[in-house]
Symmetry: D2
Subunit: 443 residues, 4 copies
Amino acid sequence: MKKSLKIAVIGGGSSYTPELIEGFIKRQDILPIRELYLVDIEKGRKKLEIVGALAKRMLEKANSTIDLKLTYDRREAIKDADFVITQIRVGLLEARARDEHIPLRYNCIGQETTGAGGFAKALRTIPVILDICKDIEDLAPNAMLLNFANPAGILTEAVLKHTNVKTIGLCNIPIGTKMQIAKLCETDVSNVYLEMIGINHLNWTTRILVEGNDITKEVLTKASSSSGLTMKNVPDFGWDANFLTSLGALPCAYHRYFYMKEQMLKEQLDSFKTTGTRAQVVKRVEDELFELYKDPELDIKPPQLQERGGAYYSEAALDLILSIYTNKGDIQTVNVKNNGIIPCLPNDAAVEVNCVINSDGAHPIQPRVEIAPQIRGLLQLVKAYEELTVIAGVTGDYKTALQALTIHPLVGSVELAEKILKDILVENKDYLPQFNKREVLQN
Amino acid sequence: MKKSLKIAVIGGGSSYTPELIEGFIKRQDILPIRELYLVDIEKGRKKLEIVGALAKRMLEKANSTIDLKLTYDRREAIKDADFVITQIRVGLLEARARDEHIPLRYNCIGQETTGAGGFAKALRTIPVILDICKDIEDLAPNAMLLNFANPAGILTEAVLKHTNVKTIGLCNIPIGTKMQIAKLCETDVSNVYLEMIGINHLNWTTRILVEGNDITKEVLTKASSSSGLTMKNVPDFGWDANFLTSLGALPCAYHRYFYMKEQMLKEQLDSFKTTGTRAQVVKRVEDELFELYKDPELDIKPPQLQERGGAYYSEAALDLILSIYTNKGDIQTVNVKNNGIIPCLPNDAAVEVNCVINSDGAHPIQPRVEIAPQIRGLLQLVKAYEELTVIAGVTGDYKTALQALTIHPLVGSVELAEKILKDILVENKDYLPQFNKREVLQN
Amino acid sequence: MKKSLKIAVIGGGSSYTPELIEGFIKRQDILPIRELYLVDIEKGRKKLEIVGALAKRMLEKANSTIDLKLTYDRREAIKDADFVITQIRVGLLEARARDEHIPLRYNCIGQETTGAGGFAKALRTIPVILDICKDIEDLAPNAMLLNFANPAGILTEAVLKHTNVKTIGLCNIPIGTKMQIAKLCETDVSNVYLEMIGINHLNWTTRILVEGNDITKEVLTKASSSSGLTMKNVPDFGWDANFLTSLGALPCAYHRYFYMKEQMLKEQLDSFKTTGTRAQVVKRVEDELFELYKDPELDIKPPQLQERGGAYYSEAALDLILSIYTNKGDIQTVNVKNNGIIPCLPNDAAVEVNCVINSDGAHPIQPRVEIAPQIRGLLQLVKAYEELTVIAGVTGDYKTALQALTIHPLVGSVELAEKILKDILVENKDYLPQFNKREVLQN
Amino acid sequence: MKKSLKIAVIGGGSSYTPELIEGFIKRQDILPIRELYLVDIEKGRKKLEIVGALAKRMLEKANSTIDLKLTYDRREAIKDADFVITQIRVGLLEARARDEHIPLRYNCIGQETTGAGGFAKALRTIPVILDICKDIEDLAPNAMLLNFANPAGILTEAVLKHTNVKTIGLCNIPIGTKMQIAKLCETDVSNVYLEMIGINHLNWTTRILVEGNDITKEVLTKASSSSGLTMKNVPDFGWDANFLTSLGALPCAYHRYFYMKEQMLKEQLDSFKTTGTRAQVVKRVEDELFELYKDPELDIKPPQLQERGGAYYSEAALDLILSIYTNKGDIQTVNVKNNGIIPCLPNDAAVEVNCVINSDGAHPIQPRVEIAPQIRGLLQLVKAYEELTVIAGVTGDYKTALQALTIHPLVGSVELAEKILKDILVENKDYLPQFNKREVLQN
């Protein structure tokens, strides 16, 4: 008989938590959770209390036997945990607002997870996640870390390279894409199989099968004219038909920042003038959500959460836990160590690929389709940026950070990289201990 | 006793030819040339006659025994040749002017050998060089093709992938860099050894040894403050010191188009307003050169040719021929098939690396230094662009051309790629038979 | 609604066929077979008629709706088939007897599927299977070929390299090993997960999980003392404990021919004196089986078939067909193109690895365990032998055949290879058209 | 102005030393040696004194300015040395006699450098050479270690993997092969260029060029009928013509132990009965040499040394030192880290390949010829054996030693490996401290 589980959620006060709770409730017959710890930092006490209270009401309503605990002591939560879920946001939405704003000053795209914005977020988050991993190594060495903090690929790579913690990086894009394809093809999501290749937020769907039939070409033709193939927080510009069919794969929503650089930048600059950064929009949504969460009558996940972006994250996380716990052997698209499954990337890189999930973890499946040059080149460049970012994030080395930003396609020159990096380091000073150890501001 | 050589120079009417003739004269004691054919097309008759006459006067003055022949029959020149040298310019300087101008219309860098300009030049030149190779396969299957038409890396890759011709691609940057380093270090060029890695016009010097001592770090520190490390036709902006020392290698002059995109574009736009494109400047220089060449008293290479750019090209070509002829076994940096010498690039790619040169051809030497991520990412992306360009140049496939331009870092978006590609195809119509076979102009 | 299937069984007169029929019957609710063709050559008419009649009785008893057809026209059977199953034995048991005997003359192991015996069998079978593939390309280009003729790895590689037919090579060792482990661990086979790496009949089980727990070390300790880990036709010598635990993986039964060369050879020489070759033993078993099959009262698979060796072959084949038909996505260990999943073998080699099986075919899963040198070396050598055997089998080149035999560890010297090869070529003359085209008998 | 050199020769009392001294004398105008230390252990005092006295007489006769020093203090010799040459023989010829004899007891080939004999020698020598490397790291971190103790490939790999010492492994086979080819082709050795691929004592000459012409095929045809292509200490059986021409490369002398296993074994068993092991023969030769060396009138290398086997070792060593000292840039075949130059072997393996030699060390050149399967398989297997031997030699792990011997083609079974290993461990007890730390004799 299998044992019941202890789960620790770091960043438990997140507005996403009700979705996670709903997920646990839905699976309560097949996934026996003994203890569920929601952990947060002191600064997040108010939010954790609100969300925690709502979670309690939800669990009670569902007659759940889960023992829910709120804590500010991370080590207590991690001790002997089976799974540790990280959904942290170092520096809160204020930091995200800066991430989005700094690049815009220099006419570069300001985005939370890629480009200079994602870079800043990575520098802030790497020290924290490595710190969490030290606790896991110490208190729960067999635990599996499921990270869905962003930039998920870079954080997974940092954990894989610098700790002994077992980890899988998670994103909602794969599951979201599957649902969109299902909708596009008017079929149930269970009939859809996608072959995905790439890295987090730069992931190409190279094959699309519905009920076992390869309909990739048809979907690419459709997709260039249809809308709906994007994420909540990425504007929906249609793809050019010539481009899409010769790309030979469905790009993910974040590819727009690369392939449609000018339009995306223009849209960001326009939006910034009217509604501020995306972080500011999200902040307003979150404030409203927390107002709703406070309602002592509320005992379900409010439908407004769906609007927040990030849909299916908890689905992705819970499907993963379930397949590991039940030794299921199904296929999910997650972030793991490459080890040659994408031969054109370094063996020790984190990649986002289809994996068989069982009690033994995630096992990459060999892609059927060889990676085309038009995909390979961009993939390799952005991965090189990620490698440099991991080094910069761990060491706090100013020059490595400069190289990372210089080669990122959304920055792309030394001059811009220097200016942006200077702003990032100054405005994130409180969150970059690794850089403060050193003389980093060279000019 | 070794036989004397027959050499065919395709594009013999080039203004560079006197440098080549000078090179043959300098080596006449060690490199016995029997026949030297200067070939050109009918359209270039006037230039070939002028240059040919000067060449004759130069050879006579030197008491050379070389039998110089001018011809418009390429097959006559190639038949049984030992070496075929290609220095062609399909579409003449007029085409180059368009190559440089079209991208500028869209605020993209317009450059003869890289970016959208080099791309257009590749599309024009690939069919011609493959045609030349058919003649070589037919009439001189053991000949070695030495190409220094640009973009030399792409053309070498096209020849390697689509013909059975033995070929080495040549560039003056490696020899030029060596001379600059020698000057910088105040030593003789024979004391300098450089380890170079990369592809044509995107080549990093990863190690610099003078008299066997590794002084790479010292040179990188010096180079960020000194000027002089550039080519005639590339503006000399100094390198950022932080950037250069952490790059860990000396970039080549053409890297400025990537690492200093904004400054280079600004400089191009400014120059364009005042002096026109670089092609127009070169045109004026060439016209003046041909005026000089006409002088029946002139029987040496006029010193003004040095001003033209492209210095040392003939040195590079003749050193190569000499090492092959004499089975010398020295080391030169040339363009050859990769075959794993740069493990992060495809095996069948053309790469520019250090090779042992002997009668058996060029044999790549394993680089001592592993390629750093900051170098690897950009190298891989531009190589992917080159692979696509070879496909587009051979097949005339519009969509592949679109993918190639989209991923090039100097274009970088679908929208720009489409606009620029449309202009390229329309304005080069006469030189793109491979595209005219098909319905290419989609919009 | 999915269509019903047409299946062609080449070599339908085999004594194994009743097992296959039983398998179809067991799965009749989930695997709708419309037409089942048993094909054989004229020479096998007697056997096909006997087996065919038994099959009919079995199907009738089970109220099956399968339309069973016996034919000697292979093309009729293949036309529009969904699956083609090959269970051919070129030259019948008489040829196998020679395969086993020839090497024994020179004190080399004589085995049906590996060493010089398997080599001879490969040479005979390659032309036939390629011929079958021509029919498939012509008449059923979308059919999946499931081959379980031996040597299955070499034949799969020949098909992958020289035809366009979709194919998966099958062996009963993986399923057999799973069953033995289940028995050893006293658990149900569904609880056992094995990670297998290697090539057909040289396959190492590198990880053993029961209910998700890794018990590899425990099994290796147990296995060195227990018996039962072998196949019917491979003598069961226990493994040396020191050897097995440091090998780090469970060898398959056929490894005994390599690791216990002397004992195996001695056993073969002893057996040969008393009972003749294994082929002769099997011949007697088969004769008895066919006597049983003739019984018009018999309408089930007779239990004596289990004694025959080759148990679970039809289980393996039918599980594979079912998973493909139902797009199941379970994991089976089969022979497919390597493509880098075993990085130390050539990309175009056939390998035997764990694959996800769905309607799209077999998709290799990345092994978790890196291949240890003690496994790698032998694996690479035998694969090199297989590559050469494919070339020799296709071209009929005497010298390549000589190289193949020379490097095989069960032959291992030029002198032995020459002698054995001479005998093979002479005694298989009627079955080696590819060699007869040429002057092959050099001495 | 370049400085003069200090050279330490470990194992200075070797009978080879006069050849080395002769080499230094021949090069005294171009290779300025300041100090030459001949080091030996106390046990070798008598030999060192004899050889040392002869060396002094030779240097005096040549008016050499080299300061020759004899010492038993290894650290004094190594301190600040520019080159350390190791020509040690741990356990003296007595140990070699055992290495050759033990395998013969079990009908396996007994050879000093490969098979079980070379394995025993590796186990004895690895601890000593790693100890020497500790002294080098400590006292002369910039020194280059040139090892020609055998098995040179395994020792080089041990040093590369377990120390920070710069090293090149040396063998006389490459230079010897060159001389034999020159003789066979009746040309000067300077006209011969060989492309060699493989590992020490398992090295294939894949291309043979004389004056730049590829005559590989002609030589392979000749070589199968000619004698003379072997080493002094390897019997000269002619190669089979069919085998040699389809191998596509010239095997080295030691390949006979693999390709002609039976003949070689028979020859060894026969010789053993009549003249004892090769070690015993050599012992007699050495005793005679030392008698000669004692002659106070002798002041040149006596011609009898040539008979000893191992000719050209000092040529190889001194050519290497000279090319490094003078930054020459010529090509020599030596043992270095693979790093992908032989793609089918691990990156960290020692390989024997053509290298450019300059002040910066040895730089592998990319082989032109792809390695054929008939070469690849054996090469990979023996390399895997070498990897295991390095592990066993460093750790003293009995089981790893068992795996190493089991897979070696000259042993090839668990049973033989266990028996031979037991004898090796017992009879070399005094020289295997790494095994004595542990419980190694399991049975």
